[in-house]
């Protein structure tokens, strides 16, 4: 008996020890074994990332600065940080000894904190004492180049993998990427080595966008007459391609089919394309063609641009100063110039995700061609409050009032920018274009590529003014130095695209994993329907209310005019009447607002009833019925 008890106790103690051992061991051993059931495979590294990790040759050292102590009070931040750390561990586990990971806890006022700040990491104040919380990454390659992610923002969770993969890719490919620029506009300025003789007035500095791109890329000019695009150009930027020869178009076509990436900024009406003023023929410049379209390449890439119209958008329209008929200065909305906001940009694509505002001016309207095999991903659109502005309303300078008068919301979201990918064919199926009648040589035919091996990567934007200083920066002179203040994120848009395209195709394939936000679509729809139903009513009531209030204040001023302290009984009665009217209208407005929520509330109540009441009731009923049956049976 005694022996049995002893054995039992040993068994119990053994079980506890075994439990502890198994769990401690499994935490360390089974890090990579998991089943990712999420729809977008949020927690699994994509093939593109794996390829990038496998292609790392020289060792990379990653240091994660994570203020673990400060995170303990915030469970959601802790779990986000844990996800970041596990993602990085997965990178380093997969890469063997090529990627090493070190996790540092930069305690407040420690040497590590100084190090983190020195490397450009961003601290977020967490406690009342102002202790900074760090969650950022510093990557170093063998030649001591440094790349950082200043802060892993929980809001940008779905780009976590892309951000880390990009950092690793950049560290393993440290050479600067070459950005070729082919432009019919003076994007790179018109000053070059041979222009020393130009006068100050003739010199045009490069656009600010170009100067900023030069900090990230080796920017190289490509002539608009080029018949071949150099192989070592990683990304080709084509800006407002006007009157390109067939040979040049062919060169671009072949460049793209051979795996080159292109960012194309065409335009239905380029605001920056200002033909020189001709004294003898002043109207000439007004009638000049300011359109570019890059055909036939555009249609082979599965896109077309509407002719003779530009897009306009009521929602984000710019306000510009103008004069009305009587010559008075006023500020009105100019619909063809608008800001594309978060709502109209693709938040699932790494180029546009996170952008809040991109300024667009007189953009063309893009369409996907029906029978194309290519993948067209819209990146930027107008809102649904858009309208096709006929060319004659914009060609001769802004006519905001006329456009406003004729505006009628189309309800369509016009596409302004799109990413094109997929296997593409040449726009020149018969081989390179030649002089009239001549056949292409055999050597030319041999080099000719009819179909791309790999998916092509092209960005098409139907506005070139997106790049122009006037539309996205303010220049200010401060103590003789020019200070540039961005008004919109046009540069981020272009730089995101250029960085995405200059990475290899693996990096481009690492896209966002879909947002975590999944709204109640049905409720949103209900709200939208209700709103449109009641909006008219509300506007009417609101204008009535305004009228009444105006009347009341008018009557009160009248009293002051008369210099009398007392109101006449009629006036008093009138005011009283209007006051009552105001109370009545307010009440009605509140009622309308309440009705707006009514359908949604009804849905809420119905769902509550089903989930809280109905099912338990059904179960209870079944129980009663079964019970009765049983009792009956017993009696029988």
């Amino acid at each position: 008996m005694q022996k049995g008890r002893l054995l039992s106790w040993i068994g119990l103690v053994g079980a506890v020890v075994l439990l502890l051992a198994i769990n401690i061991l499994s935490t360390v051993t089974f890090r990579q074994y998991r089943l990712d059931l999420t729809e977008d495979k949020l927690y699994t590294l994509s093939d593109g990332t794996r390829n990038i990790i496998n292609s790392v040759e020289e060792p990379i050292h990653l240091t994660l600065y994570y203020s673990k102590g400060l995170a303990s009070g915030a469970p959601s931040l802790r779990s986000h940080a844990q996800r970041v750390q596990e993602m990085l561990e997965e990178f380093s586990d997969r890469a063997g000894d090529k990627i090493t990971l070190e996790v540092v806890d930069p305690a407040p006022f420690s040497e590590e904190e100084d190090e983190a700040v020195l490397n450009g990491l961003q601290g977020v104040p967490m406690t009342q004492a102002g202790d900074n919380f760090f969650l950022g990454l510093v990557g170093r390659n063998a030649i001591d180049q440094v790349q950082t992610i200043p802060f892993f923002d929980p809001q940008k969770d779905q780009f976590l993998e892309y951000d880390v993969a990009e950092l690793v890719y950049n560290l393993s490919h440290p050479e600067r990427k070459v950005l070729g620029v082919m432009s019919s506009l003076p994007f790179l300025g018109n000053v070059d080595a041979f222009d020393v003789l130009k006068s100050e007035a003739e010199r045009e500095p490069p656009w600010i966008m170009a100067t900023q791109l030069q900090q990230l890329f080796d920017v190289r000019k490509v002539e608009t007459t080029a018949t071949e695009i150099d192989d070592d150009i990683d990304v080709l930027m084509v800006i407002h391609p006007k009157d390109l020869s067939d040979q040049t178009l062919y060169a671009i076509d072949q460049f793209v089919l051979n795996g080159g990436r292109a960012m194309v900024f065409i335009d239905e009406l380029s605001e920056m394309d200002r033909p020189p003023f001709d004294e003898n023929n002043p109207y000439n410049s007004l009638w000049a063609n300011r359109t570019s379209d890059l055909e036939p390449l555009l249609s082979t890439w599965g896109l077309s641009m509407e002719e003779e119209v530009v897009a306009s958008d009521m929602k984000g329209a710019m306000r510009i100063p103008t004069r009305d008929e009587s010559g008075r200065q006023q500020v009105v909305q100019y619909l063809p110039w608008f800001v594309s906001t978060k709502d109209t940009m693709n938040d699932k694509d790494v180029i546009t995700a996170g952008l809040e505002s991109v300024m667009v001016a007189s953009a063309g309207i893009l369409h996907k061609i029906d029978n194309t095999d290519l993948d067209i991903t819209p990146l930027m659109t107008t809102s649904e409050e858009s309208w096709r502005v006929p060319m004659n309303l914009v060609q001769f300078g802004p006519q905001p009032q006329n456009i406003l008068d004729e505006f009628k919301a189309s309800g369509e979201k016009f596409m302004i920018a799109a990413r094109v990918s997929g296997i593409a064919k040449s726009a020149y199926p018969d081989g390179p274009p030649t002089e009239e009648g001549a056949e292409p040589t055999e050597e030319q035919m041999q080099k000719h590529v009819q179909k791309s091996d790999k998916p092509i990567n092209v960005l098409v934007v139907s506005d070139s003014d997106i790049l122009a200083d006037d539309f996205w920066v303010q220049k200010q002179n401060m103590f003789g130095r020019q200070v540039i203040i961005p008004m919109a994120e046009n540069f981020s848009f272009v730089a995101n695209a250029a960085e995405n395209f200059s990475g290899n195709s693996d990096l481009i394939s690492v896209r966002s994993r879909g947002g975590f936000m999944r709204p109640f679509e049905r409720v949103q729809e209900l709200a939208k329907n209700a709103e449109s139903k009641y909006r008219e009513q509300v506007t009417e009531l609101e204008s009535k209310l305004k009228e009444t209030e105006d009347r009341i204040s008018e009557m009160q001023t009248q009293k002051e005019d008369a210099q009398s302290l007392v109101l006449s009984p009629e006036q008093q009665a009138e005011i009283e009447k209007f006051r009552e009217e105001r109370v009545r209208i307010r009440k009605e407005l509140r009622k309308v607002q309440a009705e707006l929520r009514e359908d949604i509330e009804a849905l809420n109540t119905r769902l509550k009833f089903i989930n809280i009441g109905l099912i338990p009731l059904v179960v209870a009923l079944i129980a009663v019925v079964l019970g009765l049956i049983r009792i009956n049976r017993r009696r029988v």
């Binding site: 008996m1 049995g4 008890r5 039992s8 068994g11 119990l12 079980a15 506890v16 075994l18 439990l19 198994i22 769990n23 401690i24 499994s26 935490t27 089974f30 890090r31 074994y33 998991r34 089943l35 990712d36 059931l37 999420t38 729809e39 977008d40 949020l42 927690y43 102590g69 303990s72 009070g73 915030a74 469970p75 779990s79 936000m517 999944r518 709204p519 109640f520 679509e521 049905r522 409720v523 809420n604 769902l607 509550k608 089903i610 989930n611 809280i612 009441g613 109905l614 099912i615 338990p616 179960v619 209870a620 079944i622 129980a623 079964l626 019970g627 049983r630």
Partner: protein, 244 residues
């Protein structure tokens, strides 16, 4: 195996001949609904997921599962039916496992009956159903862990009330181990590895990582080893008490 199956069937049928099973299911469904809609503000959040539904499961189980598990052995012992059970040609382990499985499947049935919630989110929006499947699996296996603890404690005593109270307290320890307030208390003086070890033994930590949509082997090992350990202890305790 067939012995386990026999006991399992007998026990499971036993649940449904008494009103107890129905009362439990009704209370469970009613409370999950109330918690989800009122405390979890399911509708106001406007997100097509079941987070506000699953996040209350550890707390619901804390009180509901001990109510099932308390009678598993305590009742048998009180009524003396345990003697009868022990004269049958089944081993202690088989009896423990059979009883445990029947209780587990019973909670599974209650859990399945929450399916209108699943239909509701799919009606309202476009939820990630993979995450919901994972969460259901996680919730079920966590319920198993609660039950295993309850089984063992029920085996220790004749008194169902005592079994209930002790089970609640023990389970509460396992829940609270991952709670920020508790961890903060330890953080002041205990070494970090101890704090991490404590938090790694919490139901909350493992359950919340499963409800993200990832079934990690480590989480499964945690719950399964916990169930195994408590059941093993139950078998030993039933065996030890047999002689008394």
């Amino acid at each position: 195996m067939s012995n386990i199956w026999t006991i399992f069937k007998r026990e499971l049928r036993g649940y449904f001949v008494t009103p107890l099973a129905y009362v439990f299911i009704v209370i469970f469904l009613f409370l999950t609904g109330i918690f989800t809609f009122y405390m979890g503000s399911f509708f106001q959040r406007g997100q097509a997921d079941l987070q506000s539904f699953f996040s209350f499961h550890p707390w619901l189980y804390l009180f509901l599962i001990p109510a099932i598990s308390m009678r598993l052995w305590a009742e048998e012992r009180k009524q003396g039916t345990i003697e009868l059970l022990l004269t049958l040609p089944v081993s202690m382990t088989q009896a423990v496992i059979g009883k445990f499985l029947s209780a587990w499947i019973f909670t599974g049935i209650a859990l399945v009956l929450t399916f209108p919630m699943w239909i509701t989110v799919n009606y309202l929006g476009n939820p990630d159903n993979g995450v919901i499947v994972a969460s259901y699996i996680g919730s079920f296996i966590m319920a198993g862990a609660y039950l295993a603890i309850g089984t063992c404690i029920s085996a220790m005593t004749k008194n169902q009330v005592i079994a209930f109270v002790i089970t609640v307290v023990t389970c509460l320890l396992f829940v609270l181990a991952g709670f920020p307030v508790v961890l903060n208390f330890f953080q002041g003086w205990a070494p970090e590895y101890l704090v991490d070890a404590i938090s790694s033994f919490s139901f909350l930590t493992h359950f919340s990582s499963i409800t993200k949509g990832v079934i990690d082997v480590r989480d499964i090992i945690y719950f399964v080893s916990l169930i195994g350990c408590w059941l093993f202890a139950s078998a030993i305790i039933v065996d030890m008490k047999k002689g008394q």
